[in-house]
Amino acid sequence: MYDNPLTKRDAVTKEVKISARGCQVYYGDTHAIKDVDVDIEDKTVTAFIGPSGCGKSTFLRCLNRMNDTIDVCRVEGDIRLDGEDIYDPKVDPVQLRAKVGMVFQKPNPFPKSIYDNVAYGPKIHGMSRNKAELDEIVERALRRGAIWDEVKDRLDAPGTGLSGGQQQRLCIARAVATEPEVLLMDEPCSALDPIATAQVEELIDELREQYSVVIVTHSMQQAARVSQKTAFFHLGNLVEYGETGQIFTNPQDPRTESYITGRIG
């Protein structure tokens, strides 16, 4: 059945999960993000594309306050998750990060067992009362990470012993184990081969059912394949934000066009 034609996807508008207004980020004296307004929708994959140093990763990290760990980084403006200002002084970044999970560029499992990797988040958030519950959470997360069948017989094996693609899916499983509402992915496939990349992309597409997924990627093809919305960043500005199909066939801004067609200028 083909009940969701590609060209009709932009018609489906979901409710807004994260909304940023007038977001500014400074690294010391550098103005890294300039006045970004964006609405990230729920149950949607949003891709951030743009050349290196354009601020897409920086902006992504603003969404779960990972930039807090950098002393010289300063965020201004308004970023709201479900209408709540995440930079409100009352907000504890630890609590925020439990709601907004993150997957990183390089697969970075803890040098512990597969089980411990996934169980760590639920443990520190006190999500289980006993071992049986924890087992259940771990299994659910690994299933959602589409890696359960591959590792169910060796949960005690070290997570670092898996292949790159498996490690990344383990990291995704680890991120979903804490039941986040938003998943941020910072170039999750840049260290993976095409097959592993395809598996992760398939997983991202499945995750869309439950989460709002934001993915930063250098591969425009990947952004085109997995995302419904695409935002193009350039020199700290959000140049264009729109439905992915439209961005990749008929971008409105010449800078977007130049970037995605690989032109100079």
Partner: protein
């Protein structure tokens, strides 16, 4: 090419491009020759280094190995109640009033009697001269033996007494007939008597456990000198260093590396820590003397003071090593922990620290090894004192005078009797063995706990 003013250079370049791979050109030859020369120089440097180490170790082993063996004379001694317990009450307090001078005649008599029983003639020597074969420490040995159990008085016991240093030296090749002829402390006749005793089996050279357990001895009794107090003192100091420097160093480095804001002030602290590692150790000794002894009023020569000074000295090493191993933990691990919602402290203590542990432990052990071998600051705080008494067990022992291994080495090399050279070398061997063991532990820890990520 812009500088090629000579037009003949142009055609010359063309055939070079077509040169055969099987033929080395001049440049390649020169480059290969330079590489070969460099390798040779490296090889020579390494060889010199290895030879130096071999020379050093073999000279120490040559001088010091003999200190682990000691010459003893086996005697039957009659513990005469008439001399030791005149009152006949077997009261330890009364018996303890008998000094070593009271025991010396017993030993002399025992020696002469045993010799007579074995049929060994004195050969013109007086009984007193024969008794000079026995160490001056022997009466003290005997006295300790009696004091341990006063009921032994009245019995005839077979007793291994230390031979005098010169006799010991004779069997280790340090003393010869010629040198004895010139020596006031020993005569060739005494050496000949020693030979006869050896033939009779009364005199034996055997493993010297006392070297590790006995305290230091005076100048005239090198044969009795041991490392017991020094080893204990060093152990106490290492304990102090470990207990103070490891938590302090690790806490300081974790704070500096993970939590402290990066500003001028922390930069200053960083630079100072690095510089502190380069401060000559004797400066720490002066500091210890001024602060811990003169100001804080801690006792001199005590392991606690030595430990504190060495802690100060070791802290920079541990901090630098710990920070390096914290830095070596990939930031992706911190990100991962923060990403699943761990707090900064959870990420450090659950993930970063365990991964840095092998590095921290290695650094700590290297620092301890450095502290173990440190001499200069200990000299200044009085650890060089002559200590015969064992410090008591912890915690009081930390405040009682003790020696330290490297200081003991220094001390012994200062003494006149050549027997102390042997002792000093032996002490160096003991020290080196400790250092090698500590480094081995460091390597094992690193191998065992090093995890790949």
């Amino acid at each position: 090419m812009t500088d090629a003013t000579d037009p003949s250079a142009q055609p010359a370049a063309a055939p070079q491009r077509r040169s055969s791979l099987l033929q080395l050109d001049e440049r390649t030859r020169r480059r290969n020759a330079a590489e070969a020369r460099f390798r040779l120089m490296g090889l020579i440097a390494v060889t010199i280094g290895i030879l130096a180490v071999i020379g050093l170790i073999s000279s120490i082993l040559f001088n010091g190995a003999s200190s682990f063996r000691q010459t003893f004379i086996t005697l039957d001694v009659y513990l005469d109640p008439a001399k030791l317990d005149k009152a006949g009450t077997r009261d330890p307090e009364a018996i303890s009033k008998v000094t070593t001078f009271g025991y010396a005649p017993l030993l002399q008599k025992g020696l002469v009697d045993t010799m007579a029983a074995q049929g060994i003639a004195l050969d013109g020597l007086t009984a007193k001269q024969a008794a000079e074969l026995i160490s001056k420490e022997a009466p003290a040995q005997l006295r300790r033996y009696v004091m341990a159990d006063v009921s032994r008085i009245g019995q005839t016991v077979t007793f291994d007494v230390l031979a005098a240093g010169r006799i010991d030296g004779y069997f280790k090749g340090r003393v010869t007939m010629e040198s004895a002829a010139l020596d006031r402390n020993v005569s060739p006749e005494q050496l000949m008597l020693a030979d006869r005793l050896k033939e009779a089996g009364m005199l034996r050279t055997k493993f010297n456990l006392d070297f590790f357990t006995a305290p230091d001895a005076s100048d005239t009794r090198p044969e009795a000198a041991g490392l017991g107090v020094a080893i204990l003192g060093s152990a106490y100091m290492m304990l102090v260093v470990l207990v103070l420097a490891l938590p302090l160093g690790v806490a300081a480095s974790i704070y500096l590396e993970e939590f402290a804001p990066k500003n001028r002030f922390t930069d200053l602290i960083e630079v100072n820590i690095s510089n502190l590692a380069a401060v000559p150790s004797i400066v720490f000794g002066i500091l210890g003397l001024a602060v811990f002894i003169n100001f804080a009023g801690l006792p001199q020569s005590a392991p606690i003071v030595g430990g504190l000074v060495l802690t100060l000295m070791t802290l920079p090493t541990i901090i630098i090593a710990t920070r390096a191993s914290l830095k070596a933990v990939p930031p992706s691990i911190r990100d991962a922990a923060l990403g699943v919602g761990a707090s900064k402290m959870q990420s450090v203590f659950h993930h970063v620290l365990p991964l840095a542990m092998p590095g921290i432990l290695t650094g700590t052990i290297i620092g301890l090894a450095q502290a173990l071998g440190e001499t200069a600051p200990l000299l200044l705080i009085g650890m060089v004192a002559f200590v015969r008494e064992y410090p008591s067990g912890p915690p009081d022992g930390f405040f009682e005078p003790a020696a330290a291994l490297p200081v003991q080495v220094y001390n012994w090399t200062q003494r006149g009797d050549p027997a102390f050279v042997e002792r000093a070398s032996g002490a160096i061997i003991v020290l080196l063995v400790f250092l090698v063991i500590m480094n081995a532990i460091a390597i094992i820890l690193r191998r065992r706990f090093e995890r790949r990520w």
